[in-house]
């Protein structure tokens, strides 16, 4: 049965863009190992000839003309929810160091 180590938890927290305290790492390592261990019973099932299924509707290539529908959402509305908004753009810290 798979057990997640503290290192594993640090790695997936990093992938998830989350920061954990030491106590949280210990708690999650235990809890996540518990549920991952449980779902591993799937290994019993033979699936060599079974196709992967990602959805149930059977619908394929549903397309729609990509038209802007005027009047739905204004800059004003977007600005109200935005942490920082200036001249029609979201404001973010730099990505590259100068």
């Amino acid at each position: 049965m798979t057990k997640l180590s503290i290192d594993d938890v640090e790695h997936i927290a990093r992938l998830s863009r989350l920061e954990l305290t030491q106590a949280e790492k210990e708690k999650f390592a235990k809890q996540l190992s518990n549920v991952i261990g449980y779902v591993e019973e799937l290994n019993e099932v033979k699936t060599n000839d079974v196709e992967v299924m990602s959805q149930v509707t059977g619908l394929n290539n549903v397309t729609e003309i990509d038209l802007l529908e005027a009047g739905n959402i204004s800059y004003n509305h977007i600005e109200k929810n935005a942490p920082e908004f200036r001249d029609g753009s979201f404001v973010v810290p730099g990505i590259f160091q100068d």
Binding site: R17, E19, Q31, Y38, V39, T47, V52, N81, P93, I95
Partner: protein
């Protein structure tokens, strides 16, 4: 007339039609009820009193002019706080959306308002619908109206409690693995998870997109049919909605059921099931037998693995869906109040864009969301993808095939909804696996995409409600309505109300 809040949609609609009551009177009665007991129950995150009265006045004016829009014109309806409602705060019960006010309306709620319905408020839920008890809400714990020391179930626990306690006439919920049916069962109301794609998901915060569905939570089967008539249908904003014609579900009510065959899938019985729940389900089977219906035992062998399939797919899709919460465009953010020009100055934790993502998400998301995001990134990681995610998608196919096979021989399946009645608050919060296992009978339905309904079927010795689950093939909602209405006609479990 007193206590209008007790009415069903059908009863209120008839009284409005006959001019015995007005929508304003109905809304006032519901608001009075909320004021009286909301402190005890905690069903709502936001109550929209002023908006409701405004909508009710408009409805009454329409009625005076003979321009009634639908059977739900003027009816107060509560909506799970996962549906975007334009101009009305929508939190998903998470701190990360604490002050979020949507700039657009979800299709399902738009259809309600276009039909004249009145918004009572936004109900509490497990954070982003991740949970089975409504305890992962960042704002409050909703109590079960039948026993305030117990959970209402989840994740649509606020909607279920509000309907059960008459704090609205009906409600909308969402169901990814049981989030409509399990709280409906635990609160003694009717809850329908429609076929995947029957109701548009547009504008509803996504949890696991290939499993998420939207449905009615009501006091009666008939009310569920009234609401489904309104919210079902294809939507160009949700490419997974089905083109299949939407029938008039009301015409299924009261139809002859004698030629139908019920299947009892043995995998849903036995291990882990409470003996009182077992008795209540068996009693329900007997009620159908007495009506002359054929009952046969069937088997869905892959269902044994459905919980594993369900959670792996949920984690993976959650990890992707939650990536949008980055603190840049909306929601809780560390950009706010930071002077960005001087962000490289000493003392500021936010030095670059990634710091914004990490800090905003770490502060804004709750533990259960974090667990699922991390598990999702784990099962999607290179080296683990085939063993978990691909495997789950293959076994999902087997689960779906099992349902298809069994529905060649029977019209409907009857199972328990939850292995137990409502459990105590805080009983399972420290043990995620135990919490996950409370969904064991509801989760197999979502990977298969079929519809299922929970209807009240009895009470335990402690007077806690217990429901049964009716499962039909894809787009088989009419069969569910036929049988559920027949059951309701000869029982009075749905008429019981908690003492509050």
């Amino acid at each position: 007339m007193k206590h209008l809040y007790k009415l069903t949609i059908k009863e209120a609609s008839d009284k409005l039609y006959r001019g015995e009551i007005t929508s304003v009177e109905l809304v006032n009665s519901v608001m009075e009820r909320i004021e009286q007991i909301e402190d005890k129950v905690g069903a709502y995150i936001t109550v929209t009193r002023e908006l409701a009265l405004e909508q009710a006045k408009k409805s009454d004016e329409r009625r005076k002019k003979g321009r009634v829009l639908s059977p739900i014109d003027g009816i107060p309806i509560a909506v799970k706080d996962l549906f975007n409602t334009k101009g009305v705060r929508t939190t998903a019960a998470s701190k990360i959306l604490d002050d979020f006010v949507p700039q657009y309306e979800s299709t399902a709620t738009k259809k309600l308002w276009d039909a004249g319905a009145v918004l009572v408020g936004k109900t509490n839920l497990d954070q982003f619908a991740m949970g089975s008890s409504t305890e992962t809400s960042a704002f409050k714990t909703t109590k079960n109206p039948w026993d305030l020391s117990r959970v209402p179930g989840g994740s649509s626990g606020g909607s279920a409690a509000a309907v059960a306690a008459d704090m609205c006439i009906a409600a909308l919920g969402t169901d990814t693995g049981g989030s409509i049916r399990q709280p409906a069962s635990l609160c003694g109301i009717v809850g329908l998870k429609p076929t995947y794609g029957r109701v548009s998901r547009y504008g509803v915060n996504a949890m696991a997109s290939s499993l998420d569905t939207i449905g009615p939570m009501t006091k009666t089967v008939e009310d569920a049919a009234i609401l489904l008539n309104i919210i079902a249908g294809q939507d160009k904003y949700d490419s997974t909605t089905l083109a299949t014609k939407v029938p008039n579900y009301l015409s299924s009510l009261g139809q002859d059921i004698k030629d139908l065959t019920i299947g009892i899938p043995k995998e849903f019985y036995g291990k882990g099931m409470d003996s009182e729940v077992d008795m209540i389900v068996k009693n329900a089977i007997n009620i159908f037998k007495e009506r002359g219906i054929k009952v046969v035992e069937v088997s869905l062998p892959s269902v044994k693995y459905a919980l594993d399939v369900y959670y792996i797919i949920v984690w993976a899709e959650v990890a992707s869906n939650m990536a949008r919460y980055d603190g840049i465009r909306y929601g809780h953010s560390k950009i706010k109040n930071q002077k960005l020009v001087s962000s490289k100055s000493e003392g500021s934790k936010i030095k670059n864009l990634e710091d914004v993502y990490i800090t905003s998400r770490t502060e804004g998301l709750g533990d259960e969301v974090k667990r699922r995001v991390m598990l999702g990134n784990y099962v999607l990681s290179s080296g683990y993808y085939d063993a978990y995610y691909k495997k789950a998608q293959q076994v999902r196919n087997l689960v779906k095939q099992d349902f298809e096979k069994v529905f060649k021989n029977v019209d409907i399946l009857l199972t328990p909804v939850s292995p137990t009645a409502a459990f105590k608050i805080a009983e399972k919060t420290d043990n995620p696996l135990q919490m996950y296992l409370s969904d064991i009978h509801t989760v197999p339905i979502n990977p298969a995409g079929v519809p299922a309904m929970s209807i009240p079927a009895g009470f335990t010795k402690n007077n806690l409600p217990v429901g049964i689950q009716l499962i039909a093939p894809q787009c088989g909602e009419e069969t569910i309505f036929k049988l559920a209405s027949a059951f309701e006609k000869v029982t009075d479990f749905h008429k019981q109300r908690p003492n509050l």
